[in-house]
Amino acid sequence: MGNSSELRERCQQALELTKKHGADEVEIFAQTAQTVAVDVENNDLHTTSSQQETMIGIRAFVNQQVGFACTNVDEDLETACADAVQLAKGSPRDEHNLLDSPLPVTPVQEIYDTNAESFSAADAVGQAIRILELAESIDKRIIVGNASVSSNLVERCIANSRGLDQFERSSLFTYFALTTAKDGEQVSNMAFRFDASHFVRDLDVEPVIRGASADALGSLGAGRGESFLGPVILTPEAVGPILGSLITFQLNGRNALRGASRWGKALGNAIAAPLLTVVDDGRLAGGVATSAFDREGTPCARLVLIENGVAKSLMHNAYTARAMTASNTGHASGSARSIPGIGPSNISIQPGDVRKDDLIADVQHGLLVSRFSGSSNPISGDFSGVAKAAYLIKDGKLDRPVTGTLIAGNAFEALQSLSGISSETERVFASTLPYLRIENISITAE
């Protein structure tokens, strides 16, 4: 990687060029990513790759009209700056199109490992080989259909015409395994596990391949399910697509501003069982998405989204905060390739005080859902889909694996009928999620 001054100079250069072309306010977001990756296909190493790219994103404001352009070509920088200004001039005026004045940013620790600079393709290959060796030692029926180990060194720099000038460097190792188990004619469901770390010392592929192997093996020999209305226990992997997407959509300031969120006008109201507390923390120690500042340079912070079942706050960027007369929560998301959106960073559902096994022990007749393959509509709340690697629960115990079982319900209602949260949590991408027990879910065997 270069040094901070190179990317900073590039930002300042773009800022001046955009002003020269007629912008009265300008924001430049630049990002350099250097990646080394090894892909595994079908129980064998496949492609090893190395890449580096610098992308510059230019947001030009002309009389509160906005245009955006980006480029990864050095020679095209001035053209991109001129394009952003042209696009702004052709856009309708919006009184909320203004930049925020910069706020002081406190750097975050523990997101950059200098050892990552010397992490080579050979090191990545070594980790990929470990995934394959572990899979073989766990069970010969496991096929690692796809896996990857990658090292990502990222530099982000943001500058604007109001004097903002921030730089951050981070390292992130990401690794996943997608497995199936095959036993004669029987093929299991696909199983997927992912993890990440900022430090070389924390890179550990073993839990990923062990988890993916256990899930795939567990769904071998699954039988027909049963149809009933009853409780389901969602693993952390299944919580995200059913409830996580609804929560982040409904508490997105932009959706609230545009009338697409029923929670937008329900802050302070109970929208879930009192057990539920949801927090987003952009400065979480060790978090995958941890950063000192967001896509607009606003400091990241801890934000309580739902507390004891009550909706407490929306996530805002500068635009929605101004338009809704609220505080900017530092949730501008996205890369240098796009205009700032809104999204969570390290979101977590706070753990409960019941062990996962005790959640199961209280269920007479229910279903454990390890993965959800379906749809969850964040506007109506309706969800339905296939329960993957699912187990029937009978008399407080996992009875047997089942296949072809559909679950359906409404996520708004599911949040109200939440009856248990485990004390154990797992990291799913940038989220930290516990096991949840939800009552009265429609379960249908095919």
Partner: protein, 463 residues
């Protein structure tokens, strides 16, 4: 650029592939009358893949000078050497293929660049207003236009040298309706490979707006369907999704080798004899398909591939590596989305051949079932061909007549079982994947479609 890449490829020791891509995209998005995005992107670079000691290495660069490209070649070769010792199965050779040396200009009489930003912005604003003006019950609207224009040069050290241009515009509408605190949404999208006129040749933006509003409003009062396995009539949109998502991925040769259910099914009956499934590099039956690909990213000329012929599995989809493994000819399915992506096996235009039954006859033959149209929220399929797709519009069929709308329906099953249960294939064909993008680690613009099908599947509902 073409000559420079050829010169570098000619001097290379061992096989290399050099792929220059210059991509220009534009995006306009409006919500509730407010412009949310007006943007342009220019992304350019070269992806280099090298085969050294039977292993692929890949590198990419934005430095387009000869020195920059040579540095990327060295990086790709170095990456390959790094893993050569540990790789279990070395690639002995790449399959022989018909490599392209042609030039493929844009296929449209009405290029996107001939239409200024003002015109596109005005259309997006107008359609957004049309949605909002459709009634007090509409509380949110969202309309967007996007276009991707590509220029590619693909050169390989064994003789490919192709120069390609493509343009893909897309248009999307969305509306949220609200009543008694409850919200439902409707949506529509369309995309083609071609120009401005072609984009709206199947349905106009006004028709998309009308459909979007109607779906949002009707869903507010629609009941949830009962769950269970039943007779369904699928429209070309869902037939396309089934062909692509549930069957197509299981015949991508890399997925096959990863343990897909299709590994044991070659030359076996996998569907009703009424079913012939194709993956094609061209817009068969109807123009404008989004996945047109005359030459793939390994420089291989695309060829129409019959995956299932009258119910029998006959071919997987290949790149040059898997074609060599299976001892067959490559099918032209190696694709990379951007210069910084290494080519992997992807579909193009995937469809079921039309048959002889009219939609009216199909519906008339259903005593109790569902008419399912278009992909709704979400969808997923497994390598064992189990799938689940949200349905955009599902209506009851009772005693041969289409009836009430149901809300939040999805359809699921094992795709091969569903195709075995087909007892009627429609006589009208349509590409209808909307503005769909396929994801497999990297994106790809694909299309899919077919005629209507009548079959058995499970409708997800409530107990």
């Amino acid at each position: 650029m073409q000559e420079l890449l050829q010169r570098i490829a000619a001097k290379s020791e061992g096989w290399i592939e050099l792929r220059f891509q210059s991509r220009s995209t534009k995006q306009i998005a409006v919500r509730n009358g407010e412009l949310e995005e007006s943007s342009s992107k220019r992304i350019q670079g070269i992806g280099v893949r090298a085969l050294v000691d039977g292993v692929f290495g890949f590198a990419s660069t934005t430095d387009l000078s000869e020195t920059g490209i040579l540095r990327a070649v060295e990086a790709a070769q170095g990456a390959a050497r790094t893993s050569a010792r540990a790789k279990k199965h070395h690639i002995e050779e790449l399959a022989q293929a018909t490599l392209s040396t042609g030039s493929y200009p844009l296929q449209t009489a009405d290029p996107l660049d001939a239409h200024p930003l003002e015109e596109k912005l005005a259309l997006v604003m107008d359609i957004d207003k049309r949605i909002r003006d459709s009634g007090d019950v509409i509380v949110s609207s969202n309309v967007s236009y996007a276009e991707i224009q590509d220029e590619k040069v693909i050169v390989t050290s064994d003789g490919a040298c192709a120069h390609l241009f493509s343009a893909i515009p897309e248009f999307r509408t969305m509306a949220v309706a609200q009543k008694d605190g409850e919200q439902c949404f409707g949506n529509s999208s369309i995309s083609v490979q071609g120009g401005w006129t072609e984009l709206f040749s199947i349905r106009s933006p006004e028709e998309m707006a009308e459909y979007t509003v109607r779906m949002a409003i009707e869903q507010l009062t629609a009941p949830h369907p009962p769950g269970g396995t039943t007779t369904v009539v699928l429209d070309p949109g869902l037939v396309g999704v089934l062909s692509h998502e549930a069957i197509g991925h299981t015949v991508e040769a890399d997925i096959v080798l990863g343990g897909a259910i299709t590994l044991e099914k070659m030359d076996k009956e996998v569907a009703s004899e009424l079913i012939t499934l194709i993956d094609s590099p061209t817009s068969d039956h109807q123009p404008g398909a989004t996945g047109n690909l005359p030459v793939d990213d390994e420089g291989v000329e695309g060829r129409r591939t019959t995956i299932i012929d009258r119910g029998v599995l006959r071919s997987y989809l290949h790149n040059r590596e898997t074609a060599a493994h299976f001892g067959v000819e490559p099918t032209g399915n190696a694709r990379a989305f951007e210069y910084s992506d290494a080519p992997i096996i992807r579909m193009r235009n995937t469809y079921i051949e039309p048959g002889e039954t009219s939609l009216e006859e199909m519906i008339a033959g259903v005593d109790d079932g569902f008419y399912c149209c278009g992909l709704g929220f979400g969808g997923q399929a497994d390598s064992n061909a189990e799938f689940m797709f949200g349905v955009r519009e599902a209506r009851r069929i009772k005693k041969g007549k289409i009836g009430e709308l149901v809300r939040g329906a999805n359809i699921s099953g094992n795709a091969f079982d569903v195709l075995k249960s087909v007892d009627a294939v429609g006589n009208k064909f349509q590409w209808d994947l909307g503005a769909g993008t396929c994801g497999k680690g990297q994106a790809a613009k694909v299309d899919a479609g077919g005629p209507h099908l009548r079959c058995k599947a499970t409708i997800g509902g409530r107990q």
